[in-house]
């Protein structure tokens, strides 16, 4: 099963329609289950619900063979954590799917490192879905500890300089 998620905040009809059309062209072999949020588009080839609670969402996410979604940090972070093959389509400002085009930059960066697959538009989606089934994401090295250490070191220097009252 491929889990398709567009987040709960804003609609993302373009992605739902693109996946639906990939089905029509025979490019999707697996069953798709979708969490469609506020989207208006009614898919013909797969089932979906508006929203899932966290437990349900986690269950679909972890049991899926792969995930398709928008290029939101929440989706990307979760896929990296569970080492799930993820295909994203960035939301674009010109379609009023988001307030700015930061999702394109994020998608490009994570694609560059081999962490995710990206379809920059609906036209690229069918081919990328096809690649998704054999895609093995490069695990991302967690560098949060380095950031934590840097901040701790900074706080420690304040603490020991007796700056605080």
């Amino acid at each position: 099963m491929i889990f398709l998620t567009v987040g709960t905040q804003f609609p993302f009809d373009r992605l739902l329609q693109a996946v639906d059309e990939a089905f029509d062209r025979g490019m999707v072999q697996e069953e798709v289950y979708a969490q469609i949020g506020e989207s208006q588009y009614k898919p013909r080839n797969f089932k979906g619900v508006m929203s899932l609670d966290k437990t349900e969402f986690d269950a679909y996410f972890t049991s899926a063979s792969s995930v398709i979604g928008h290029a939101g940090m929440g989706t990307i972070t979760m896929a990296l954590k569970h080492r799930k093959p993820l295909l994203v389509m960035p939301r674009l400002k010109k379609y009023r799917e988001v307030v700015n085009d930061h999702q394109v930059g994020i998608a490009r960066k994570f694609e560059e490192f081999g962490h995710i697959l990206v379809a920059y538009g609906a036209a690229e989606l069918p081919e990328k879905i096809d690649r998704l089934k054999n895609f093995i994401p490069t695990p991302r090295e967690d560098k949060a500890q380095a950031v934590v250490n840097r901040i701790r070191c900074f706080l420690h220097s304040l603490d020991c300089s007796g700056k605080s009252v």
Partner: protein, 155 residues
């Protein structure tokens, strides 16, 4: 020598991705007194386990009146709590707390969100001028901007 650990740290981040990234840094303020400023009620419960929480409400550039109310709440919080350090990941509310804290003599630490890959966030570009430690999550940004450090990313 024993560490004094008497700093009060104000942790400011909008609900959602900004807060998620801030909480990835939770180990950095262990042992210090923590006060949170966030924008949404929905995350307040979870934060309350970690320290005092203030919810200032959502705001952005297109909502001047709301933004002004959020600003006033931030003023009150900073005057009441008198933090020694502000640590923020953005966005607008975090930026306000940084400036207000700085006026009162607090040190300012900013980590720009990982979603800013080519350019700092608008808030980040403002806070950079007053920050005592400014961290970015992409090496390229540290090359592009002065007084900006890259040591790693939280995702």
């Amino acid at each position: 020598m024993t560490m004094a650990k008497n700093l009060k740290i104000c942790l400011a981040a909008s609900a959602g991705g900004h807060l998620t990234q801030l909480l990835k840094l939770a180990q950095s303020w262990v042992g210090y007194e923590a006060v949170f400023v966030t924008t949404g009620e929905s995350v307040a419960g979870e934060l309350a386990k970690r320290g005092q929480v203030y919810v200032v409400g959502e705001c952005n550039r297109s909502m001047p009146l709301k933004t002004f109310r959020v600003f006033l709440r931030c003023v009150k919080i900073v005057l009441k709590e008198r933090p020694d350090v502000i640590l923020s990941t953005g966005a607008a509310a975090g930026c306000m707390v940084c400036f207000l804290g700085k006026l009162r003599g607090a040190k300012v630490i900013w980590m720009d969100s990982i979603t800013n890959t080519e350019k700092l966030s608008l808030s980040g570009r403002m806070v950079r001028h007053i920050a005592d430690l400014f961290l970015v999550q992409w090496p390229r940004l540290a090359v592009k901007y002065k007084n900006v450090e890259y040591v790693g990313s939280v995702v």
